[in-house]
């Protein structure tokens, strides 16, 4: 870790350098802005870059540093996924529907980071309305995987993952509805954490599927994920699903190791469709954790295999309800001169939504419609109960479950056209959203130069333990010190 160039340093290292006055907040922002200008034309991880805003925030951060009031994120740059509201800064959700939308308020996470002295570099590309697993459904441009520019970065938080992996931001916030933080983190060789449902306020997150959505960090190290969680986790009166829980320092206990930690390996996550090389690397990581003192056992979760079907009923259904707000009246894309409201609604959505969003609205509406509600939506909610109970039972026997994050490494742009095949990318990640539990992905090796991710799952509010287990593995491996050649 010692000889990293500035743009690949961890948040902790950047913070230390700022406090030691080895670099100023303005200089640190400029290092990143210059690198974005030089490289992002090839990667496409930003939808908007905000240099003036960054310099203003850097100046304010410098005052805090100079007066001895710096916290670990003060003066450290960052990116936000473009579905997080930023007051006065365009927020598109990668959709024509919101191409010109300038939020009149900040998301709670946006203001929490600003209060901590964070410096916003810009907004990250994503799948339109976070619907996708490759960032190819962005209405504006694809994002490329920095490890191989012919490949996707994953999605929907593909911009954030590619930016963090290529040193265009030390960290970013993404959202994860079925794997949208963890899968791109896996494809891009970085750390991604989906916290417990309700732990991070979603006020100002443009809604996709409200019983599943959660905001979380994408970082290059496990400690950095803990530092970001310290700022963004916590109750919020503006989010009715927010968990009331006092603030926690997620760095405490990070170095306590995994001696005696009970780790469960789930055979269902190593079965059909999982690349044997991915399985092999995951098992190697498990052996390494065992060598560090963890106690490994096998835990079967048979209902997990139905999680994908549950997800692809619940998420389109909730999406069809959430996206009903786009009426072309209050904000967003609008077609002029429609003769009446019904025609206007249809024309607004025909022109404003892309193919994937329309498909999900259609599927969700179908599943909720008369005659199908019981067979699909209600049934999926019942199976959701079974999946949740199965996890509850598992976490009475073990502390942490380990799985691969994704069945394969990153695929090529344009390679997957069939939506059902695309969905298979989420097979290991959706169960956590279904059960509301936290999941963390960390790099555990490469196949033909492409990163592979290892997923840690824990009981509700077990983030500190997941971070501790991941930190122990990270410190015993060197994957986090490897970066793409650009």
């Amino acid at each position: 870790m010692t000889e990293q160039p500035t743009h690949y340093q961890s948040i902790r290292q950047m913070s230390d350098a700022l406090v030691a006055k080895e670099i100023s907040a303005a200089e640190l922002a400029d290092v990143h802005l210059k690198r974005i200008a030089d490289l992002d034309g090839r990667i496409g991880s930003y939808l908007a870059v905000t240099p003036e805003h960054a310099r203003d925030q850097a100046a304010a951060a410098q005052s805090s540093i100079d007066s001895g009031n710096a916290s670990p994120l003060t003066g450290v740059p960052m990116q936000l996924k473009d579905n997080l509201a930023t007051r006065g800064i365009i927020t598109t959700c990668a959709s024509l529907m919101l191409e010109k939308f300038v939020p009149p308020y900040d998301a709670t996470v946006t203001s929490a980071l600003a209060s901590a002295g964070a410096v916003l570099l810009g907004k990250g590309n994503m799948d339109e309305f976070a619907m996708g697993s490759s960032t190819e459904t962005s209405a504006f441009k694809p994002t490329r995987n920095p490890w191989d520019l012919d490949r996707v970065p994953g999605g929907s938080s593909g911009g954030p993952a590619a930016a963090v992996a290529s040193g265009l931001a030390p960290y970013s916030l993404g959202s994860d509805t079925g794997g949208s933080i963890r899968q791109p983190a896996s494809f891009c060789g970085i750390v991604g954490l989906k916290p417990t449902y309700g732990l991070v306020s979603r006020f100002g997150l443009i809604a996709f599927a409200s019983s599943l959505d959660q905001i979380g960090p994408l970082t290059r190290t496990v400690e950095d994920a803990a530092l970001v969680m310290n700022v963004i986790a916590g109750p919020d009166l503006n989010d009715s699903t927010s968990i009331s829980r006092p603030a926690l320092d997620y760095t405490i206990g990070l170095r306590d190791g995994v001696k005696g930690l009970r780790i469960g390996v789930v055979p269902e996550y190593f079965g059909d469709g999982i690349d044997p090389e991915v399985s092999r690397l995951a098992h190697e990581a498990i052996q390494q954790l065992k060598a560090l003192g963890a106690v490994i056992s096998e835990v079967s979760l048979p209902n997990s295999t139905a999680a994908l079907a549950v997800y692809y009923v619940l998420s389109p259904s909730e999406c069809s309800a959430n996206l009903a707000r786009y009426d072309g009246v209050k904000y967003g894309f609008s077609t002029p001169d429609a003769p009446n409201m019904m025609t206007a609604l249809e024309a607004t959505r025909e022109g404003g939504f892309g193919t994937e969003v329309k498909r999900r609205m259609m599927m969700g509406t179908y599943a909720l419609s008369a005659g199908y509600y019981e067979a699909y939506y209600k049934k999926a909610q019942q199976v959701r109960t079974l999946i949740r109970r199965e996890f509850d039972a598992a976490f009475e026997k073990v502390d942490v479950l380990i799985t691969p994050t994704t069945p394969t490494t990153a695929f090529k742009l344009g390679e997957i056209q069939d939506p059902v095949v695309m969905h298979a990318n989420d097979v290991c990640t959706v169960p956590a959203n279904i059960a509301g539990i936290p999941g963390l992905s960390i790099p555990c090796g490469t196949i033909d130069g492409l990163p592979v991710g290892l997923q840690f799952l824990g009981a509700h509010l077990s983030e500190a333990m997941l971070l501790r287990a991941a930190y122990a593995y990270e410190q015993a491996s060197s994957w986090h010190t490897q970066h793409p050649v650009l």
């Binding site: 209902n303 009903a324 498909r359 609205m361 699909y376 909610q381 199976v383 109960t385 279904i434």
Partner: protein
């Protein structure tokens, strides 16, 4: 394994599109006939799971209750902020197309 899923009729696709007020081109209707059939087949595995007597979960985390704040006035967005993204407005109002079918309302 499973049979080739039966494609939806054009009418079925258009009925759903009307329910969610999403305008579709003829080409989109045509491809959705197959794609929706594929998506329905994808989730039909649920039918084989016994859920007799199982309560549905709408919320995966117990203890998440609707957050209520005190009913006291607090600062809200200004009218200018609220209207700042309106595609069409008249004074301090959003302008909407006619809801009834007789010209602008």
């Amino acid at each position: 394994m499973t049979d080739q899923p039966q494609r939806l009729t054009e009418d079925e696709v258009r009925r759903v599109a009307t329910l969610c007020r999403v305008g579709l081109s003829d080409d989109e209707v045509e491809s959705l006939r197959d794609e929706m059939a594929g998506l329905i087949a994808e989730v039909s595995v649920l039918k084989s799971i016994d859920t007799t007597g199982v309560e549905p979960t709408s919320h995966a985390v117990e203890g998440v209750r609707s957050v209520m704040r005190d009913d006291t006035p607090r600062a809200a967005l200004t009218v200018a902020d609220v209207l700042s993204n309106a595609p069409r407005r008249e004074g301090d109002y959003f302008r909407v197309p006619a809801v009834m079918d007789h010209g602008e309302g």
